[in-house]
Amino acid sequence: MSAASAQARIGRIGLYTLLVWTCLFFSIPLLVVIATSLKTSDEVRAFSIFSLPASPSFSAWVKAWFAACTGLNCGGVHVGFLNSVRILIPSVIMSVFAGSVTGYALSHWRVRGANVVMLFLLLGAFIPYQVILYPLVKMFSTIGIYSSLPCIIAVHVLFGLPVMSLLFRNFYAGLPEELVKAARIDGAGFWRIFIWVMLPMSVNILIVATILQTTGIWNDYLLGLIFAGRDNMPMTVQLNAISTTSTGVIEYNVNTAAALLTALPPLLIYFASGRYFVRGITAGAVKG
């Protein structure tokens, strides 16, 4: 074996070693949480969270789902789960719809000032939530829906608008202009072209947008905390409340199970959708 190929081989070994070590860094926190959630209470107290469960059981998961406590309220995270689902579905549908229509109007219809609108949307995406939370609370209280399901849905649609619109605008701007022109010559109007020409070509971008909004809204904490109201607390808010409840012994197996249950929906979406997820996350990286 020549010196050069020996060196190349050492390089390859180094390469894979580095990759494996970094992947350990990425995966160990999740594995630790999974292992802890499968332990019994005695085991959690006796051993480090890095040890494997002696006899894995889902009892902590059952308890987290049905009976985990936030203060004196012991309803389990299924309450937050259902709230999150109720918030998620209308928010995603409405914000994807609003974004796609806005993006479409901004791309193939030569509206005067379209560039200004796009700049507004772009800069709007950078404004930190904290800057506009209080005025929004005031506005929603004025119209009388603050702290309710419609309120948190409206807020998600609102905060999704810049990124969703720009995502669709960039996609539609890449489609050939002749498509719209031909349809217009045939007498089709704004909505007919949108529904019959644009939407059928938008399947990929619709998937990307839906995944982006679903994970984003599911993972939201701050907006849910401020706008959802006590009866509609999303799962993330409930999870944090459960984990910071300091009455009695901390049941780490229940808390980790609750955390996993909260993380599960976006994780499943990620593992199922792969490249769509990555596309969305790189496109929506400016959000939040």
């Binding site: 894979y16 990425f26 480090s48 507004f120 709007g124 800057v131 990620y270």
Partner: protein, 282 residues
Amino acid sequence: MAKLVLAPTVLVMLVCFYGSAMWTVYISMTRSFLLPTYAFAGGAQYARLFHTARWQVAYGNMFLFGVLDIVGTLLLGTLLAVLLDRQVRFEGVFRTIMLYPLSISFIVTGLTWQWVLSPTIGVQHFVNGLGWTDFVFDWITRPDRAIYTLVFAGIWHQSGLIMAIMLAGLRGVDREIWRAIRVDGIPAWRAYLHIILPMLRPLIVTCIVLIAIAVVKSYDLVVAMTNGGPGFSSDLPGKFVVDFEFERANIGQASAGATVMLGSVLAIVAPYLYFELSRKNR
């Protein structure tokens, strides 16, 4: 019709985003306390804000956390992208593992790292159990170290994103350049360091801007991981503002803090967008 469709969007952007932001900026220049008042008072809120110990810590933490988080995430993300660019087997598996943290919320991320780093159940407890009984790793409970633990979680969560962006850039590098590098016999690591990565400078700037904005906006992570503690040693502006707005009901101070956040984001974004847009228009 297109105009009619855009009207609500424009209205919502103007009222909810820009109107609200201007309102907050204005309130930061009044004497508002529990409730907003509208008499102009100049920079009084800011003078008070920067004399508040908790804000000084939170604001300083933003830079400390920011620099470490940006450097760490960028280095790890770029390193991983370079490694994956070397025709690696099982690339899909590696990518999947590096990217999954991105799908997890900052709340779950923060709680997870809180457990891993907790001296009573986490790493310290584990190493103690192995026999090194005097091993101590209690940063998350120490006022002078807690802010650094946020960096672990930040890097863990965000490196995958930088990897994905940088890998896309690396895959776009002209094959001719690689051929020339091979002909000249330049070792791969030097080629990356001196030729390929400098070519991707605009992409690296984008990555830095992305992480920097995320740092200024950070809220959930610190809430879940340390809740700003011990005391307020690991506080960040985002948490300071929310606490002053909704718990302490001090609208004036909250607005001043929020305006500083807005200014920080603008200071990052404005020059970036200016250069990006002028580069594209050329």
